[in-house]
């Protein structure tokens, strides 16, 4: 048996291998005296890169919900936020405001994923029977309710200040700032690759076919004896838990969280990434997200040469983002790499 026979044969296997490689490299940076030095010009790439892989987990979960199952979750940011807040509240020490229990961070991360999954189950149990656009509104309103709670309950969530003093395990291991950035990007990238492997495995199995059947025609799926609600609920909870994990990791990276990280803009960015790439195709949604976040990167550089203020520039960027969303739906409803026939849309 030669070595090549042992190489993975599918996307899922390759993603798993890639993820393992990333995590190993991250461990190399974090655990050994090996240090990385990042040229100043590349900082912004690495920072946006870390945000990209974190949002990558969000878009993979969302694609499981919308792309495969047809669930219109427009409050995805709430699961991200709840994961981050849970991790911060359980693990932070001596926060200036809000609850900080100071338990070990691995425990906090598990708690973050569980709380996000539980919230997903609660929202799902109550809202998944609603019609598409009303499900969007119910989830969006849920996200707004939590946002308001985060801002207003100072004693619990720290209000606008948020929660400080969250442990930063990667930074503690890696020592200096540059190495931390590189190790974080590799580690989170690895975890996103694992998530990719997991959702790909799930959706390529017969299980995924049931999900797509639900999206295509719920009545027919029910008539062949599948419990549509159970499948929808599972897809919804998986997506929520993955978003909770992303939020928890994000909190452990930034060391402090505040409501400003968890606005509706996160939901919009992730949705546009998914639609731009092509929903129901895991590689495509990540590529779509990369394009929309590349725009963010590009605009940071363009700002230096553009003859307008930073404020005006931020507005222009959001106008462009909004118009991209409008244009995709009108001219390319299946996304750049999506399969129009599979999604059942005319393009």
């Amino acid at each position: 048996m030669s070595l090549t026979d042992r190489l993975p044969e599918d996307d899922s296997g390759w993603a798993f291998l890639f993820g393992a490689g990333c995590v190993l490299l991250a461990a190399l940076f974090a655990l050994t005296p090996l240090v990385a030095s990042v040229p100043g010009a590349l900082y912004v790439f690495i920072e946006v890169g870390i945000l990209f892989v974190v949002y990558g987990m969000l878009v993979l979960g969302l694609d499981l919900q919308y792309g495969h199952t047809g669930l219109v979750n427009f409050g995805h940011v709430v699961f991200f936020a709840v994961g981050a807040y849970t991790v911060a509240m359980v693990s932070a020490q001596d926060s200036f405001a809000g609850i900080s229990l100071g338990y070990p961070w691995p425990l906090a991360l598990v708690a973050g994923v569980l709380v996000a999954a539980l919230l997903g189950a609660a929202v799902g149990a109550t809202s998944l029977r609603l019609r598409d656009d009303f499900l969007a509104i119910a989830t969006l309103a849920t996200a707004e309710i939590f946002y308001t709670l985060f801002v207003n309950f100072r004693g619990i969530f720290g209000g606008n200040t948020g929660i400080l003093g969250v442990p930063q395990p990667v930074a503690d291991l890696a020592g200096d700032g540059d190495t931390t950035l590189v190790a974080t990007l590799l580690l989170f990238g690895g975890i996103t690759a694992f998530a990719f492997a997991a959702v790909t495995r799930l959706t390529e199995a017969p299980y995924g076919r049931v999900l797509r059947a639900i999206r295509a025609d719920e009545l027919v799926t029910r008539s062949v004896g599948k419990s549509v609600f159970t499948y929808k609920m599972q897809a919804f909870v998986y997506g929520a838990a993955l978003a909770g994990l992303a939020g928890g990791l994000f909190a452990l990276y930034t060391g402090a969280i505040s409501p400003g990280f968890f606005t509706i803009h996160v939901t919009v960015t992730v949705w546009i990434g998914m639609l731009l790439g092509g929903a129901s195709n895991h590689r495509a949604v990540l590529a779509g997200l990369a394009i929309i976040m590349g725009l963010r990167l590009l605009s940071r550089f363009a700002l230096d040469v553009a003859p307008v203020s930073a404020d005006a520039f931020a507005s222009i960027r959001l106008i462009v983002v909004g118009m991209i969303l409008v244009a995709i739906i009108r001219y390319r409803p299946a996304g750049i790499w999506g399969d129009a026939r599979e999604l059942g849309v005319d393009s």
Binding site: V72, F74, T126, S127, R129, L130, R131, D132, D133, F134, A136, I137, A138, L140, A141, T142, E144, I145, T148, L149, V151, N152, F153, R154, E218, L219, V268, W271, I272, L275, D311, A312, A314, S315, I316, L318, I319, V321, G322, M323, I324, L325, V326, I329, R330, P333, V345, D346
Partner: protein, 304 residues
């Protein structure tokens, strides 16, 4: 502050939410879409009026009419450019398009008008009409310690006028009757010879006019910035769904319920917690969707 005083606040808030929610619910009932960009129409209306008062300068009632005309035109143009072409793709693409359009509009307003809050010039907001008794500026003492400002009276009176005019429009005019027919059954309305595209256009204009008026009234009450309309969209949505999406009279009832709940929650919540009254409104929205998703008087929104 007394309970009665909070009831006044609730009625005033309910009034401008109602004016906006009627337009929102008409779009839902007849074009069959949730227009998330609708909050921006309020902002646009308020800014048109503030510009008219400040630059031209025209008295406020005239500026309000200019804003309503502008709002109707903007709404029609945006609908023709963005929503009509994708009319038959279903509710989700329409909703997503409106979210993208709303984001773009909000930032376009911010780009042109800046971030700072804008006010009506108080000189021109004294409500003086020839031949009519002059409305005093500032609080009017009604009963004991109950105060109502003349601005609040203007909002309440505008709402009553809007409801009466709208009721007449929907029951007495051909366009209004055609709108109701389309809301009930579009294909039947088309078979009966109603020009559905023309009625849709009328709905868009009417909705834009109402949103602009609501925006002007918000501006009369307080200041306006680029995010003002967006701040109201979930309350408008909550009111429309509470009343039963698509039902005009339900939307009016839903708006006053939301307005009163907002005002009373501000009265009963401990100080420092008043910020969560908007969460209370959204909670009502979610609860209504769960318990009686068709609202007080609406169409079916659950799937079979």
């Amino acid at each position: 502050m007394g309970l009665a005083q909070n009831l006044v606040f609730g009625l005033v808030t309910g009034s401008y939410i109602a004016i906006a929610a009627i337009g929102f619910t008409l779009i839902y009932g007849i074009v069959n879409m949730i227009n998330f960009a609708y909050g921006e129409y309020l902002t646009i209306g308020a800014f048109i009026a503030i510009l008219t008062v400040g630059v031209l300068p025209l008295p406020l009632p005239v500026a309000a009419v200019v804003a309503m005309a502008g709002g109707g035109l903007v709404s029609l143009v945006l609908a023709r450019a963005f929503f009509t072409p994708i009319n038959d793709t279903g509710p989700v693409p329409m909703l997503l398009t409106s979210i993208g359009l709303g984001l773009a509009l909000r930032n376009a307003i911010r780009l042109t008008a800046g971030r700072s809050a804008r006010y009506f010039d108080t000189e021109t907001t004294t409500y003086r009409f020839d031949g009519l008794p002059e409305l005093p500026v500032g609080p009017v003492n009604l009963l004991g310690d109950l105060f109502v400002t003349s601005q609040q009276l203007v909002v309440l009176a505008s709402a009553v006028v809007v409801f009466l005019v709208l009721h007449a429009l929907l029951t007495r005019t051909d366009v209004g009757i055609a709108m109701r027919a389309m809301g009930d059954n579009e294909s039947l309305a088309r078979v009966r010879g109603i020009d559905t595209q023309r009625i849709r256009d009328s709905v868009w204009i009417l909705a834009g006019v109402l949103a602009a008026l609501a925006g002007v009234l918000v501006g009369v009450q307080t200041n306006v910035n680029a995010d003002t309309g967006f701040g109201y969209i979930l309350q408008i949505l909550a009111a429309a769904i509470l009343g039963g999406a698509g039902s005009v009279y339900g939307a009016i009832a839903g708006s006053y319920i939301i307005g009163l709940v907002l005002a009373l929650s501000a009265a009963f919540l401990p100080s420092g917690m008043t910020g969560i009254s908007s969460a209370v409104a959204f909670l009502i929205l979610v609860v209504v969707l769960l318990i009686k998703p068709s609202g007080i008087a609406g169409q079916e929104v659950r799937e079979a």
